[in-house]
Symmetry: C2
Subunit: 491 residues, 2 copies
């Protein structure tokens, strides 16, 4: 993979000086067009060996284009807030919005490569990390991101020379650290691991461009040219935007049967309800105050038929908790900052820290429920969402989150009754939101969507709890009990 980058490509000063003004003008134009269209973000990943000139080239790109619309991220040690969250959190946080250019140094590649080279993780761990990256990049691609990944390569001998030269110069000495030499000692192992990772992640969606970094001018021109070509192509041929062809879901009457087989009329007497409500609220309160929870987090997802009782169930959970410890996220229309980002961004931003509880009132499942049924997402988009969601939840779980997902199901008659009552009772007015009414009419389509969702996203690590909802008391206790059980199992 690196052989052709060791051939010693060079660009003469004359050729460089001749090309730069044209290249710069073209880059500025492209950047301006990207900004004006504001239809996709651009992410340039600059990775590679130490001393290869990543910093210099990023500075050059900022100089050639308008730096006011570029944001460059180095990702030094994660902050406390970042360290408490899944490793990908800091990258999500830094993603450029549509119309802007982001430059990431190393990015999500740095840690897995270094950790493997220093034997802190084994091959299986590396494969898992690579797999996670492929998922992420495919998703970003499908969300419209233009990704260009540069790997700056230096042969062992060239790198040694480079580090020595830098050390000699009084103005460049600061750039060489002990860490650089420590990494250089591992050159061969790093090369081997990097080559493996690059091969595994050089995908259709986000191929690597390996650049011979030994000559500054060649490196800069190549980087600028490739970035320009990528932007220009995307701007000029919008039809090259991603299209996913998905195998259609074969209608499965069976999976709808699961939902229909729920005995939505299960109920609980008033007295038993009050006893059990108190019991499980008390237990929940104790569980989240336990020492075991201090480095964990709790994520609750509430989805359900309209008027299915999400709000009431959430209130009973919240009632057991110190309000400082939880955050309820009512998922409504995205803000414009959210719309400028990939779909899952608006959920990532609420990733809980240690000891925190986040309750989603509707969630990322909107894409495979309302957005699917109402035709707001293309088939390709909601089809890929199942996989993306599983991957997303897995990352949160691996980070110590305890996740409970509830589907609150009520019968059709009960729904009509409740909606009718709501419209009369001012007391409940808060719960009538836009979704209501509209989707009562699409009962069968929603049934299908729910069944597919449960089929595809109820994994052994993140199962759905289907809640029989006609009797609110029964439903609330079932929810509380399930949360308590999940916490207990996790400790």
């Amino acid at each position: 993979m690196f052989e052709s980058a060791e051939l010693g490509h060079r660009t003469s000063k004359a050729a460089y000086d001749e090309e730069v003004p044209r290249l710069r003008e073209a880059l500025l134009d492209a950047q301006s067009d990207v900004g004006a269209a504001a239809s996709f973000p651009v992410l340039a990943i600059i990775s590679g060996v130490e001393g290869a000139g990543k910093g210099e080239t990023a500075q050059r790109l900022n100089e050639w284009m308008d730096p006011r619309h570029i944001r460059t991220h180095g990702f030094p040690a994660p902050s406390g807030e970042e360290a408490e969250r899944p490793p990908m959190y800091r990258f999500w946080r830094a993603l450029p919005p549509r119309g802007r250019i982001g430059i990431f140094f190393g990015s999500w590649y740095t840690m897995p490569i270094l950790e493997r080279a220093f034997n802190r993780i084994d091959d299986a761990d590396l494969d898992r990390a690579v797999n996670e990256i492929r998922h992420l990049e495919r998703m970003l691609y499908n969300e419209g991101m233009l990704m260009v990944k540069f790997w700056y390569h230096l042969s062992k001998e060239t790198e040694r020379q480079r580090l020595r030269e830098l050390e000699k110069g009084p103005r460049t000495r600061w750039r060489v650290t002990k860490r650089d030499w420590a990494l250089f000692k591992r050159y061969d192992k790093l090369r081997e691991v990097s080559e493996h990772v690059l091969r595994e992640t050089s995908t259709l969606e986000a191929p690597w461009i390996v650049v011979d970094a030994s000559d500054r001018r060649y490196r800069e021109l190549t980087t600028g040219r490739v970035l320009l070509a990528a932007m220009r192509r995307r701007l000029d041929e919008p039809e090259t935007a991603p299209t996913v062809t998905a195998a259609p879901i074969v209608p499965q009457q069976d999976n709808v049967a699961l939902l229909r087989s729920l005995d939505v009329d299960r109920s609980l007497e008033r007295k038993a309800y009050e006893e059990q409500l108190e019991k499980y609220q008390g237990r929940l309160g104790l569980l989240v105050r336990s020492k075991a929870f201090r480095r964990r987090s709790l994520v609750l997802v509430f989805e359900g038929t309209d008027a299915g009782g999400k709000g009431g169930a959430i209130r009973r959970v919240a009632g057991a908790l110190d309000p400082r410890s939880y955050r309820i996220v009512p998922v409504a229309a995205p803000t414009d900052e959210e719309r400028a980002q990939p779909y899952l961004w608006r959920f990532w931003r609420h990733a809980p820290g240690h000891g925190e509880i986040v309750i989603f009132d509707r969630s990322w499942y909107g894409r495979v429920l309302a957005e699917r049924v109402e035709g707001l997402a293309s088939e390709a988009d909601w089809m890929r969402a199942y996989e993306e969601i599983n991957e997303f939840e897995e990352q949160w779980l691996r980070n110590g989150a305890i996740l409970c997902k509830f589907w609150l199901q009520i019968g059709r008659d009960e729904q009509l009754r409740r909606v009718g009552r709501r419209e009369q009772t001012r007391f409940k007015r808060l719960e009538i939101d836009q979704g209501d009414g509209r989707n009562r009419k699409k009962w069968a389509a929603y049934e299908r969507a729910v069944a597919d969702m449960v089929d595809r996203t109820s994994t052994e690590i993140a199962p759905w709890t289907l809640v029989e909802g006609n009797d609110k008391q029964f439903a609330r206790v079932k929810v509380l009990r399930a949360v308590c059980r999940a916490l207990r199992n996790a400790f």
Copy 2:
């Protein structure tokens, strides 16, 4: 101040049970109306002595209203990101947007009161803190926030009993910590300091409500009633929204003269420019890499006549820096998340951490420049902005920020020439933004606004640098030199 709260107010169970359903319904209605109007945020501050039931009451408010639209913040130890920024940063971060309710425990009152009571700060420090709070609250009020501040009071004897009772109960024992008893030991001093702070901050905009907290039912009902009345009144009488009557600015020909006396034609020869550019860029690069900068930050503000050369000057500063170390914030139209917050929120969110550099391309001065001249802000709003801005900058400076503010001034003819050239040259298209053209026509009005701005916000700790801009080379070097000087002076 606390005497009437020691009279032992009580509410009987019967009275409580009778009132709660009505109160709850009215609160839900009010919350719903606040959400529907989305024209102002509600902030309830719950402060007071330990063991007074702050947590219980916040939980009750969440129960009575819809917890999905309430966010309760406890403010435990600040996170690393928060600790690096001015103390008010974490509160800004947590402010509820318009239409939502926020509940803050203790809030900005906790630290000053505790630190004074434990003699970690003296009276002068406390006064400064109180003054800062008054500024903040007045600003929030003027921005439309509905603020209700509760102080839960217990007499010394009642507090002792309360803590003991809590310790006895197996379910409440966890709530009493060593810290609570440590605070109790300082009861008298805390009472004295709190009384002083409450008196000083019981303003027209945000008066305190001291609540006798000894009886749970009385405390809860009082809190609910007061919050309801405040929301209702604001909803029903929108005309009670803040109106600031400002003494008009007396036209001062003098201060315009300052601007006019600038010799905008000062220039620098090509050769001298190249030498000095390199010199100061090199120096700047070294200064921000120095050890002294690691716990500081650099904030650059660029304002100027349209086509005044802001972009070019910013690029020359950025060119000296590692792109990972800076963030350029182009200030354009606010996003909808920003519009739902007080004016300064969108700048607070970019507050730099240690060792960071933030460059604002246009800034918070927009309010006293374009918004004033274009009539986008009322006179009262832009008049109060001078004071708010000074207060805001002072907070950042106290936290270690090094702040440079540049006004780039060019002559009228030069402006016309540049704008004409830009419209032809595609190379520069990025720099033609909405502001251009529109405000070329209002030269005199802008001159006035700039002169007033400099008069009122060029303080000895945060002076403006007026930059003669007709010659771009001269301007760029002047900017770089000023930044270097500011860094040197700061170390």
